[in-house]
Subunit: 315 residues, 2 copies
């Protein structure tokens, strides 16, 4: 991303701006910038004006990472020390605050079309509020004994999916799409985001260590309330339920044994199949919105590729 | 503030919204809301539309308090436990983030005048960035051996004065003032904010415990690099300088003795007088801008009262 490089901040005070540059320059997948530009490009050749907004979304995403890593006690980010580890917690708080504000600054400087800008800012603001709500639910769930599956789905919707939805819609609005297409792109992104997140849960337990990147079984070891775990609890009889809960409460069991025993219950209850079915349903919905767009399908090739790319990581 | 009461958030998740309500309801002086409304009211009778923006500024101010209290390890706020003490650090980080975003939401909902809104958002965003820079300088100074007086003045300008300046200007813009008046109100607020902050340093050492509210001599005990201390270092000969630095590095000395000894050096160097002179100069500048406003002076009575009120706390 050339634009990201060019935006490198050199301002004073350096202790405020250096951590922003550090995090923004770590190799990320840049899914959101790519998605936004692809969608904008469907409606316009002139995607220059999308760049500040694209940058704003990426900066907002990195702001959430910077603060979430403090809250989640996550020491590593993209195989490098998190900002609060490399610098300190205060730095990560304040530089994160700055990034949040800078993401508004970039939208404000995107163009002279005040009606468009007002739309983008309202969408961005509502999304940002939802992302905070999602992070709070996620933290709340850690301390809760029972979490309903519907609450879990609400949480991942808010924490992850709405930003992807909003990114697609932003691209459409900047490109000049009509409101109808903009809404379809939002819903496409929302369902895609949900599918992506549930697939992430699936891969954590059933994935291939080499292609997944993270340690397989990590969620089980950390007693994470994932889709698989919560679906299992929903389907289980009393005996299986108690067994699963006591396995999750048991941190003395050797890791390998714990993973095997939890997976055995998952297998009995067929939760892997349930997750796969849900992902399929969500992708079907995403494609319903894809097909409802007003543009001819040959213009949507890149969107289809991106959807495939995001879900391509096979088990 | 009725509007503040009415805005009480009841949304879920409660762990995210309750801390916002907690902090917003603690008795504050509400200087900024009052200033903004007074200025808007000079130019218009209809100050209803100013309320969302006024609320936004107060929320932003409280966001900075919530995060600053974590960074500064301040356990109390307005005689009550700070948010990170009453709840926890993670809560204060995330609810603070939410407040930052909510302050944008309120501006975005203020009115249908997109040109005005764009102006307000740009002013707000630039101010917010400066406030972050000010907080960073403040934290940097704690670990620095030598701080130039000019750097200190830059810090208090960014950390405190620009928000007051921006508040005055915002009131003017909402009221419908021309650009000239809006700029004069900005500069009036800036000089007033600086004067207020230096007076705060002065009162901390020379104030009256009953009217000041904080413990007199607190800055000296905490080795704070205030205007008095930095001006003293600037004026001191080598011997006085070494003595002052060694007093500031001495945390074993009984509090009363330390305060007396530092004040003795301040007296020799006449720094109290220097501070008083600077406050007077700043207030003169503030009044230059006051007199340059295009409105007749009888409409500025409330502004004059507010300026007097902010500086009234006598030594």
């Amino acid at each position: 991303m050339d634009y990201v490089q060019k935006q490198k901040l050199t301002d004073s005070p350096v202790n405020l701006y250096a951590p922003v540059n550090y995090l923004m320059e770590l190799e990320g997948k840049r899914i959101r910038p790519i998605a936004c530009l692809i969608v904008a490009n469907i409606y316009t050749e002139d995607i220059q004006k999308a760049l500040p907004v694209v940058y704003s979304i990426e900066m907002f995403h990195n702001f959430t990472l910077m603060h979430d890593d403090i809250m989640d006690n996550a020491d590593m980010r993209r195989s490098k020390p998190s900002v609060h580890v490399k610098y300190d917690v205060n730095t990560a708080i304040l530089s994160g605050d700055l990034m949040m504000i800078m993401s508004y600054k970039h939208i404000l400087e995107c163009c002279d079309d005040l009606i468009l800008k007002n739309k983008l800012l309202k969408l961005f603001t509502n999304t940002a509020i939802e992302v905070c709500e999602g992070q709070q639910y996620d933290m709340d769930f850690e301390n809760k004994k029972e979490v309903a599956l519907s609450d879990y789905l609400l949480m991942i919707k808010l924490k992850t999916a709405v930003l992807l939805a909003s990114t697609f819609k932003t691209g459409a609005l900047i490109g000049g799409a009509d409101d109808n297409d903009a809404i379809h792109f939002y819903d496409l992104g929302l369902n895609l985001g949900l599918a992506f997140q549930i697939q992430d849960d699936l891969l954590d337990t059933y994935g291939n260590q080499n292609t997944f990147g993270k340690k397989i079984g990590g969620d089980i070891i950390q007693n994470k309330k994932t889709y698989l775990y919560l679906k299992a609890l929903e389907l289980a009889n009393d005996k299986e339920k108690n067994k699963l809960i006591s396995l999750y409460n048991n941190n003395l069991l050797p890791e390998k044994e714990k993973i095997e025993k939890v997976k055995k219950i998952f297998k009995i209850l067929d939760v892997k199949k349930h997750a796969e079915d849900l992902i399929e349903q969500l992708m079907e919905k995403a494609f319903d919105h894809y097909h409802a767009l007003s543009v001819p399908e040959e213009k949507l090739k890149e969107v289809k590729n991106l959807m495939g790319y995001l879900l391509k990581r096979k088990i």
